[in-house]
Symmetry: C2
Subunit: 257 residues, 2 copies
DNA sequence: CGGGCTTGGTTGTATATACAGGCTAGTGCA
DNA sequence: TGCACTAGCCTGTATATACAACCAAGCCCG
């Protein structure tokens, strides 16, 4: 039912994206090769090549010369959405990751949570409260709500072994993500679970993620201001990124005089 | 002097980017057409087409069928880096923007600033300290350092009329940007200039920007935690973005119980 | 003088073809 | 049995060619 007026390479792209979004093609699955698309879709190989190459640029697939084309796995897919897995981040730094699960339950959605998740009145949501630790030191308090029918087996998961965000990504590829970042003074409940004192601010990240075109999860991520920072480095495609700023300069948060 | 091993479309791209970065091609200037590249560079039109098409995707040029290819102007270029202008953001919300310039001077670079800007010992930098206000209320304290020879006329600018970041973008297209976001308790100097009390945390954004392949500016941006938030909404290309989260839900920063 | 048409330049797309290089699996030889 | 080599598949790139759509400028004709 693709529009007739669209270019054929665009139709090819949309067909493949549709298969990925619908779940027919899972992460790491093999995508039809250029020659298979030539035969099946009645296009030239250059047209199939353009479609797959653009999907590569957009982060949907990875290509390996001589092997084939594959749906990007979760780690690579996170690049598109810039949604990161805190456990991977910690292990990439060579530190040990651990988690404490404080809550894992089904509950009635409050009015605010219903609005964030676009859920109807009276619906239930799963609520997970987990502290993520780096070398045993709390670094994130995750207060997450998940739409019930998106992930029915939420209560059976062991969130000390897989983070909620990694688990959600595995259920279905994430389509959209929304972030809001604020600096706050945390309440007593947050302070106790993060092990910080009354004077320490928190970096609060509010995150909503979409799948199948609707919000499926909403999370409040509290980070101790003294132990956490968000980083980003933007460069045009094809450019070599420069070295990141050093820790010494990071410490320079104070205004002189 | 381009490397021989690179694909020819990539060499073409780098040649054109080089002309843009060097200033030979100014914004709105016409870029050689595909056929001109075919004759001048001895490539096929498909190869020239690919180079120009990818430059379009990367935001360097705009193409109009039947007319030609043109270097994108500054406003469009900033989209590539996702670097935002706070004055534009405020006016987009329908509020009035104003600025107070506290400092605008040349000074010796401290060791930390020299390292961030990769400057040699003994070099001077420009230092600008500006408070940005929304409807008269301070919303950002900008503490910025600029490499001297990148912008020699820094002391002649009126930063109540144009923000430093907008001014820098106008000198040369930005190639790279690095951000670090932290939650901090500000010192007295910051508190006084932002008009906040001792209990209020700040969202601190450290930003370095590159042009011509080197760092040209480093800024510390302090924002009152109660009046400012960073937002981001990521969706794959071609996807319709959903409605942003509502202010009501944003306010829900507290952990229940 | 003015309006419609033609012409040439430009981008956008599609195809057929060709060669290079990486990888796998299977064949065949020692 | 074990190793080397080869055939085949896949991606990556490059070229020549073709047609469609768009636009501007100029020409022609009324």
């Amino acid at each position: 039912m693709t529009a007739q007026g669209k270019p054929r390479y665009q139709q090819l792209k949309e067909m493949i994206i549709g298969r990925i979004m619908s779940g027919e093609l899972q992460p790491r699955d093999r995508v039809p090769s250029e020659n298979e698309l030539v035969n099946a879709m009645n296009v030239s190989r250059m047209t199939a090549n353009r479609a797959l190459r653009e999907l590569t640029d957009e982060g949907y697939v990875d290509r390996v010369a001589g092997i084939g084309t594959f749906v990007t796995d979760l780690k690579a897919a996170s690049h598109v959405l810039e949604v990161r897995n805190i456990a991977d981040e910690i292990e990439r730094r060579g530190h040990t990751y651990s988690a404490i699960v404080h809550k894992q339950e089904r509950q009635h959605a409050s009015a605010e949570i219903r609005e964030a998740l676009q859920a109807v009145a009276g619906s239930d949501v799963f609520h997970v409260l987990v502290v993520h630790q780096e070398n045993g030191v709390p670094i994130q308090l995750e207060d997450r709500y998940v739409v019930e029918d998106f992930a029915p087996d939420c209560l059976q998961q062991d969130f000390t072994k897989i983070t909620p965000s990694a688990w959600l990504s595995g259920i279905s590829p994430l389509q959209e993500a929304e972030h809001i970042v604020r600096a706050t003074m945390p309440g007593k409940a947050v302070r106790e679970r993060l092990g910080i004192d009354e004077q320490e601010p928190c970096l609060l990240v509010l995150r909503r993620t979409w799948a199948h075109g609707r919000p499926v999860s909403f999370a409040r991520l509290h980070h101790p201001g003294s132990r956490f920072e968000l980083t980003g480095h933007y460069a045009p495609p094809g450019t070599k990124k420069s070295n990141p700023i050093t820790a010494d300069v990071i410490e320079l948060g104070k205004l002189q005089q």
